[in-house]
C-alpha cells in the first residue's frame, strides 16, 4: 500500500505546512548552492532529521540508488569534461570525444554534484516516508480543489486497481491464458486481456464514483475545506527555522559564498565564508532536535 507508515514521533505529527515548507527550503537551497561544504551541511541536516523521524531503514535504499547515480555523474564528468587543469590521467585519443583527460577538478565537481543529488533524493525520501500524502493534498486543496480531488481519488483507486490486476490475472490464467511461455511478443500479447478487462471495469466504476460524488452534492456550489490540523509551537519553530535558513542561504548566495569554482583549478576554502553553512545546518536540524527532546522529556512534549 502507501509507502508512508505512521510512526510515533513529533516529526510524523507535524503540521503539513511546516513539513512542506521545510522540504521546499531544502530543495531550493540544494539547487542554489554549489559549494560542497554548504551542500554537505544540508545533507547532514536532512540526514539527522530522517534518523530522528525513525526512517533510517527506509533511507538506506535511497542512499544506495543515489550512490549508483553519483557514480554515473562522476564518470560522465570525469571522462567528458576536459576543463580542469590538474591532470591525473592522460588517456588515448577517442573519435568524436577527442583525447581523454581525467582531471582532479572534474572528479571533485562530480563529488560536489553527487552530494547535491544525495540531498535531493534524501529530502524526497523524507517526504515519502514521514509526511502523509493526505495531509499535503489537504494543504493544497485550498488552492485547487478539483485537481486535488482528482489526485486523491486516483490515490485511492491505485491500490484497488492493483488488487484488480492480480485478481483478473488469476482469472484469465484459470481460463487458460498462458502468461509465462512463448516469445516476448507472445507474452506481451497474452497480458492484453488483463489490461482490457481492467479498462472496462474501471470505466464502469468511474461512472459509479461520479454518481456517488454527484449524490453527495459535488459541484453544487462553492466548496469549503474541512481541516482539523492545528499549528503547535513546534510547527512555528520549524517554519521559522526554515524561513531563517532560506534567507541566510539567499544572502550567502548573493555574497557569492555558497558558490564554488571548480574549474580551471579548485578554489581553496575561505573559513569566513563557511560560517553561514554552519548556521543553515543548525537551523535545519531544528526538527530533529525537537523530535529528540519530545521523546526524552515529557515536559517538552506538553509544551511544544
Amino acid at each position: 500500500m502507501l509507502a508512508y507508515r505512521e510512526k510515533e514521533n513529533l516529526i510524523h505529527k507535524l503540521h503539513p505546512l511546516a513539513a512542506v515548507a521545510y522540504i521546499t527550503v531544502i530543495i531550493l537551497l540544494a539547487l542554489l548552492f554549489s559549494h560542497p561544504v554548504y551542500l554537505l551541511g544540508l545533507l547532514l541536516a536532512v540526514g539527522t532529521v530522517i534518523i530522528a523521524s525513525g526512517n533510517y531503514r527506509e533511507w538506506k535504499p535511497y542512499l544506495l540508488i543515489s550512490l549508483g547515480l553519483i557514480t554515473v555523474i562522476m564518470l560522465v564528468n570525469a571522462v567528458f569534461v576536459q576543463a580542469g587543469s590538474t591532470v591525473l590521467f592522460n588517456g588515448p585519443r577517442v573519435p568524436v570525444l577527442g583525447k581523454i583527460r581525467i582531471t582532479l577538478e572534474a572528479i571533485c565537481y562530480g563529488i560536489g554534484m553527487g552530494i547535491r543529488l544525495l540531498v535531493i533524493t534524501s529530502v524526497f525520501c523524507f517526504y515519502t516516508y514521514a509526511v502523509h500524502p493526505d495531509k499535503v493534498l489537504k494543504l493544497f486543496s485550498r488552492f485547487g480543489n478539483k485537481s486535488v480531488l482528482a489526485v486523491t481519488l486516483s490515490t485511492r483507486l491505485f491500490p484497488l486497481m492493483i488488487r484488480d490486476v492480480r485478481r483478473i490475472t488469476e482469472v484469465q490464467r484459470c481460463r487458460g491464458v498462458k502468461l509465462d511461455t512463448g516469445s516476448r511478443w507472445q507474452r506481451v500479447k497474452n497480458r492484453l486481456p488483463v489490461i482490457n478487462v481492467l479498462l472496462l471495469s474501471s470505466l464502469e466504476r468511474s461512472w459509479q464514483m461520479a454518481e456517488s460524488m454527484q449524490a453527495r452534492g459535488y459541484g453544487s456550489g462553492k466548496r469549503t475545506c474541512y481541516t482539523r490540523d492545528l499549528l503547535r509551537p513546534g510547527d512555528y519553530l520549524i517554519l521559522f527555522a526554515a524561513v531563517l535558513s532560506l534567507i541566510t542561504g539567499i544572502w550567502a548566495a548573493r555574497q557569492g559564498w555558497s558558490a564554488y569554482t571548480y574549474y580551471p583549478r579548485l578554489e581553496s576554502f575561505k573559513l569566513g565564508e563557511l560560517k553561514m553553512a554552519m548556521i543553515i545546518m543548525l537551523a535545519l536540524t531544528v526538527p530533529a532536535m525537537l523530535g529528540w527532546g519530545w521523546k526524552k522529556w515529557p515536559l517538552l512534549k506538553s509544551r511544544i
Binding site: 500500500m1 502507501l2 500524502p133 493526505d134 489537504k138 480531488l149 486523491t152 481519488l153 490515490t155 485511492r156 491500490p159 484497488l160 484488480d164 485478481r167 483478473i168 488469476e170 482469472v171 484469465q172 490464467r173 484459470c174 481460463r175 487458460g176 491464458v177 498462458k178 511461455t181 486481456p193 482490457n196 478487462v197 472496462l200 471495469s201 464502469e204 466504476r205 459509479q208 464514483m209 461520479a210 454518481e211 456517488s212 460524488m213 454527484q214 449524490a215 453527495r216 452534492g217 459535488y218 459541484g219 453544487s220 456550489g221 462553492k222 466548496r223 469549503t224 475545506c225 474541512y226 481541516t227 482539523r228
Partner: protein, 560 residues
C-alpha cells in the same frame, strides 16, 4: 403528510426504446420504512435514482412526470437543498468512496455543501461516534474491510443529515454479518431518528419484517403496494419470488397464517404441537458409488503458508469425486479462497499435495489444469472484455487449443444466452454477465467446477436459475465446489457441506447433518423446525411437512 409524491413518472434511459419507469404514481409518508423489491432490471434502481435527482440530471434520457419532495417539485429545487433532503447509499462500497481517509470521506459531502469548518467538525464527530467509526477515523480506506467501507459510506451520507435515506442494495457485496450490521443501523435510524428509509434489497429474509410497507416492481411499474403480510400473500398467489423463503413456504402450501420471521413461524407451528406421528422421512440420498473411488481432486495433508508468513491452510484433506456438490462455508479469512487457489494450481502446496486426475499440481501449470478445473470468480466482469458473447467463448477455446465442435452453441443454449450471442457482454445485466462468465468457463467442458461466492448480488430468481444449472452439471457427473456465505443456497442445492475455520476443516458431511441443529449455520427452514421435526433443510421438505400438518388439522376439525 407525504414527504415524497410521484406523479405520472415515465422515464427512458438514453437510446433505449423500453421505458425504465412506466407511469409511476406513489406517495410516501414521512418516517416510513419502505422496502422496494423486484427482479433485476425491474426499475427499482431507476426509481430511487429519480428520487435523488440523479435521473435525469446525471443520466440524461427522456423524462415525463413530476416528483415532489415536501410539496416542492424536484426539478425546481437547487441541487444543494435536494442533496440535503435525500441521501443515497449505493451497492458497492468500493465504487462510492472517493477519499483516502475515513474522516475526509465523511466530511466530503459537507464540504460540497459549503458548510463552515466548525459545523463540519461537529457533524463528523457526531456521526462517526454514532456509527462506531471513531476508532479508525484516520484509517486508510483501501485497508478497511468491505463492511467498514459500507459503514463509512453510510456515515458520509448521514453527516449531511438527510430526511430521506435511500439505499440501493447496500448489503449485496457484504458477508452476512457485515450486512446484518448495516441493516440494524438503518433500522435504528428509522426507529430512533424518524428518518424515512427507502431500501432496495435482495436478501429479504433479513429486512422484510422491518418494513412498514413493501413495493413490488416489474417492468418499470409498481405491481403491488402494501404491508409485508399482505404482500407475502399476494406474492404467493401470483408466484412472485420476491418474498422471504419462510413466507413463500407457508403461503405456497396455502397455509392460513403467513409468518415473516422464524419466531412467528414457530409460534404458528406450536399450535399444532405435538405433531402426531410426524417423523420426517430422512432423505438419505445415497449417491451411487458407481464411479468407484475415482477421484477428480485428491487433497492430502495440504499445508499452505503465504510468503508474508501467514499460515492459511493447515492439514487439509479433501476428496472431490464425480457427481459431488460440495459447499465450503466459514468466516472471512478461514482459508476458503486459498483452498480454491490451491486446487486451480494458482498456489502450490507448501507441504502435502493436491492431485488433479492423479497429477500432482506442483508439476502442472495453471494453464494446463484449466481444461480440467473450471473456476468462476466472484466478479464476472473479470472475464469479459471482448465485443460479443460468442467471442468470449471462442477465446477460452482458443486458449486451450480446443476446436468448437458445436459446444459453444450448446452451452449458450443451456444458459439461455443464445439470443445474446452477438451482444456486447458489458451491455448485459449483472445476472446475465455471470451466465456469460460461466459459459466461458463451461465451454472448455471442465470436470470440476469451482465457484467463489456465486450468489453475491443475485436476486431469488437468478439464484434459483444458477442452482438449477449447477444441479444439471452435477447430474452429468461433473463435480461442483462452491464457496459461499449463503446458507439458504447451500441448504437448497448442495449435497455436502465443509466448514472451515482458521485454515482447517472443522467438520464436513451431508447437509442434513451439517446444517441442522445449529444456531447460525442453518437455513431458516431448519431453524423453523428445530426440535420439532429433525433434519429439515430444504424447502421441499418443509412443504411436505406443512401439507401433512394441514391434512391432520382438517381431520381434527372434522373429527371434533
Amino acid at each position: 403528510m407525504a414527504v415524497i409524491k410521484i406523479q405520472d413518472l415515465t422515464y427512458y434511459y438514453p437510446e433505449s426504446e423500453k421505458p425504465a419507469l412506466d407511469n409511476i404514481n406513489l406517495e410516501i409518508t414521512g418516517g416510513q420504512f419502505v422496502l422496494l423489491v423486484g427482479g433485476s432490471g425491474c426499475g427499482k434502481s431507476t426509481l430511487i435514482r429519480a428520487l435523488s435527482g440523479l435521473i435525469p440530471d446525471f443520466y440524461g434520457g427522456t423524462y415525463r412526470g413530476k416528483v415532489f419532495l415536501n410539496g416542492k417539485e424536484i426539478r425546481q429545487l437547487d441541487r444543494r437543498s435536494l442533496v440535503r433532503q435525500v441521501g443515497m447509499v449505493f451497492q458497492d462500497p468500493e465504487s462510492q468512496l472517493v477519499m483516502t481517509n475515513v474522516e475526509q470521506e465523511v466530511a466530503f459531502g459537507l464540504e460540497n455543501l459549503g458548510l463552515p469548518n466548525s459545523l463540519m467538525k461537529r457533524r463528523v464527530m457526531e456521526v462517526t461516534g454514532a456509527l462506531a467509526l471513531s476508532g479508525y477515523l484516520h484509517g486508510f480506506i483501501p485497508e478497511l474491510s468491505g463492511g467498514q467501507k459500507q459503514k463509512v459510506a453510510l456515515a458520509s451520507v448521514l453527516a449531511m443529515q438527510p430526511e430521506i435515506l435511500v439505499l440501493d442494495e447496500p448489503t449485496s457485496q457484504l458477508d452476512p454479518v457485515a450486512g446484518e450490521e448495516i441493516l440494524a443501523m438503518v433500522r435504528r435510524l428509522n426507529e430512533e431518528n424518524g428518518i424515512t428509509v427507502i431500501l432496495v434489497e435482495q436478501r429479504l429474509e433479513r429486512c422484510f419484517h422491518l418494513a412498514d410497507r413493501v413495493l413490488v416492481m416489474e417492468n418499470g411499474r409498481i405491481l403491488y403496494d402494501g404491508v409485508p403480510e399482505s404482500v407475502a400473500r399476494w406474492a404467493a398467489k401470483n408466484k412472485s419470488p420476491f418474498i422471504p423463503p419462510l413466507a413463500r413456504l407457508f403461503a405456497g402450501v396455502g397455509f392460513p397464517e403467513v409468518p415473516l420471521t422464524v419466531k412467528q413461524g414457530r409460534e404458528i407451528l406450536k399450535a399444532y404441537y405435538p405433531f402426531p406421528g410426524l417423523r420426517n422421512r430422512n432423505p438419505k440420498i445415497k449417491r451411487a458409488e458407481a464411479a468407484g473411488d475415482e477421484c477428480l481432486v485428491d487433497i492430502q495433508n495440504l499445508w499452505f503458508t503465504y510468503p508474508s508468513g501467514k499460515e492459511a491452510l493447515k492439514n487439509i484433506n479433501l476428496k472431490i469425486r464425480p457427481g459431488d456438490f460440495t459447499v465450503i462455508m466459514g468466516e472471512n479469512a478461514a482459508g476458503k479462497t486459498t483452498l480454491l487457489k490451491n486446487i486451480t494450481g494458482l498456489l502450490k502446496p507448501g507441504r502435502g499435495q493436491v492431485k488433479v486426475l492423479n497429477r500432482d499440481t506442483k508439476k502442472v501449470s495453471v494453464e494446463e489444469l484449466a481444461s480440467t478445473i473450471g473456476y468462476l470468480s466472484q466478479d464476472p466482469n473479470d472475464y469479459l472484455f471482448l465485443p460479443t458473447v460468442r467471442e468470449e467463448l471462442a477465446f477460452t477455446l482458443s486458449n486451450m487449443c480446443l476446436s468448437d465442435d458445436g459446444v459453444s452453441a450448446e452451452i449458450l443454449q443451456r444458459l439461455q444466452l443464445t439470443s445474446y450471442a452477438e451482444t456486447n457482454p458489458r451491455d448485459l445485466s449483472s445476472g446475465e454477465r455471470q451466465r456469460v462468465a460461466l459459459a466461458s468457463v463451461l465451454v472448455a467442458r471442465p470436470q470440476v467446477l469451482l465457484l467463489d461466492e456465486p450468489t453475491r448480488g443475485l436476486d431469488y430468481r437468478l439464484k434459483a436459475e444458477l442452482g438449477d444449472i449447477l444441479l444439471q452439471l452435477q447430474a452429468e457427473g461433473k463435480a461442483v465446489l462452491v464457496v459461499t456465505h449463503d446458507v439458504e443456497f447451500a441448504a437448497e442445492y448442495a449435497e455436502s457441506i465443509v466448514l472451515m475455520a482458521e485454515g482447517t476443516i472443522i467438520a464436513g458431511g451431508s447437509k442434513y447433518e451439517m446444517l441442522t441443529r445449529s444456531t447460525f449455520y442453518s437455513p431458516q427452514i431448519s431453524k423453523l423446525f428445530n426440535n420439532l421435526v429433525d433434519d429439515v433443510v430444504t424447502l421441499e421438505q418443509g412443504r411436505e411437512i406443512l401439507t401433512r400438518l394441514m391434512v391432520v388439522k382438517e381431520n381434527q376439525v372434522v373429527c371434533g
